[in-house]
Amino acid sequence: MKARDPVLLILILVAAWQVLYLAVGDVALRSPARTVQTMAAMLGDARFLPHVWETLLAFAQAFAIAVAVGLLVGVSIGASRLAGEVAEPILVALYSIPKVTLYPIILLIFGIGMPAKVAFGAIHGIVPIAIFAMNAIRNINPIYLKTGRVLRLSPAETASKILIRAALPEIVTGIRVGFALTLIGTLLGEMFGAQRGLGYLLMQAMSLHNMETIMALTLLLVLFAASVSAVLLALDRQLHQRV
């Protein structure tokens, strides 16, 4: 894929946006130019930054928990064949339920505020990270274990020198997916019941019918998510190529 292809895609999307705006008008949309302007203004506004910080903080904590717990659960389950067979349907089921349904329960446990947001984000991210890590471990080619024994490595050395490298690409894919889902979870949490953060701002703008703010915020979130995801994707691809 040449470097100019994503640029072409972005141009197409922006052009489509502009055309849509011209067709529909100010009643329902704002133009790309206007939205970028609003976004720039927001980023410069001192009252805006605390909300960004709130969301980032919640997200970072949620992501850290999701990675730690997800990897722990995934690797432990993946190491045992029986555990894998027992747990896989459970994990898959957990993956497909609308986790938003659980949010009131989380609020009841943690109360409104940062801990609830973090918990919500975390539960979104834990499951895919665990599933991918589990599969990464399960799918390690048995030949690697044999090689470790032939080279007379201790179990810890085998794990750290060989197995981790073998499982890494799948694990990174899981973390990439977990990143995206944790972000969604954190944001959803803020949209549902919060007093601060970007999600909250989004809902506030919605109730005030503040078109500019809604589109600017949406654009900001999309840009953030897309750029980090692109970086993680590049890393993902590189790791998979080496395998």
Partner: protein
């Protein structure tokens, strides 16, 4: 060697049992959670009284529309793109990053544009589901062995008949995977949207019950959603495995 199915059932029973005990002994306060037995009782009562029948119907209908739209549009776009490789390559980055974008962020926008009806929820469900269908349709069509296309030409099938009688039937199990995902995503999208803002539907009622400290109703409805969605998704998962097993390719 215990069967994994039995172990799993046992584990789940254990978890539910522990929850029951913790609730009944008051370790988990009743303001936070009610015991599983009470959840089931409340659900049975709700279903019998038909109190939320309209909401259930509304949600299921919106989910179905989302699924149908996603399948129709998704398979069409997927099939078209697969035969236009240059165009497809341009959109590749979109396929790769689509699910990283918080699509729910578009929900407020949709509400402001379309108002507070069913359309924004269906739209969110559709947006979440359609990409999975496109990606899996592409995947399935990519896998059609070249020799089958050659055989189709020898039978003098022409491009449309080849697509309908050879390429799509071959890709069917993979398109089914897309269908399975479309179902899961539609539920997630519609119910999630109902939660955030809506004026009817199961998600809305759960949110309403929460705001009114009505734990029995809230937990009953949550249980209902979990059971229904899990049953549907699991059935599709099993069905998908069987479809893929029939093919050796």
């Amino acid at each position: 060697m215990k069967s994994p199915g039995l172990l799993r059932a046992g584990l789940i029973l254990l978890a539910v049992g522990a929850l029951e005990v913790l609730c009944r002994t008051g370790i988990i306060p009743s303001l936070t959670a009610i015991p599983p037995s009470a959840m089931v009782a409340s659900l049975v009562e709700i279903l019998r009284s038909g109190r939320f029948a309209a909401d259930i119907v509304a949600t299921l209908r919106n989910v179905s529309i989302s699924i149908a739209a996603a399948m129709l549009v998704g398979v069409l776009i997927g099939t078209t793109l697969q035969s236009l490789p240059a165009t497809r390559r341009i959109f590749d980055p979109l396929f790769a990053t689509y699910y990283a974008i918080p699509l729910y962020a578009f929900y407020p926008l949709l509400i402001v544009i379309f108002g507070l009806g069913d359309l924004p929820q269906v739209a969110i469900g559709f947006l979440l589901a359609v990409m999975a269908v496109i990606i899996n349709t592409l995947n399935g069509l990519d896998r059609v062995p070249k020799v089958l296309l050659k055989a189709a030409r020898v039978h003098r099938l022409g491009p449309v008949k080849t697509a309908l009688k050879v390429r799509l039937p071959f890709a069917a199990p993979y398109i089914f995977t897309g269908f399975k995902l479309a179902v899961a995503y539609s539920f997630i999208g519609v119910i999630g949207a109902e939660f955030i803002t809506s004026n009817r539907g199961i998600g809305y009622e759960i949110s309403f019950a929460y705001n009114n400290f009505d734990n029995p109703v809230m937990y009953a409805l949550i249980l209902f959603v979990l059971v229904v969605v899990t049953t549907i998704n699991m059935s599709l998962y099993v069905w998908e495995k069987r479809l893929l097993a029939r093919r050796l390719r």
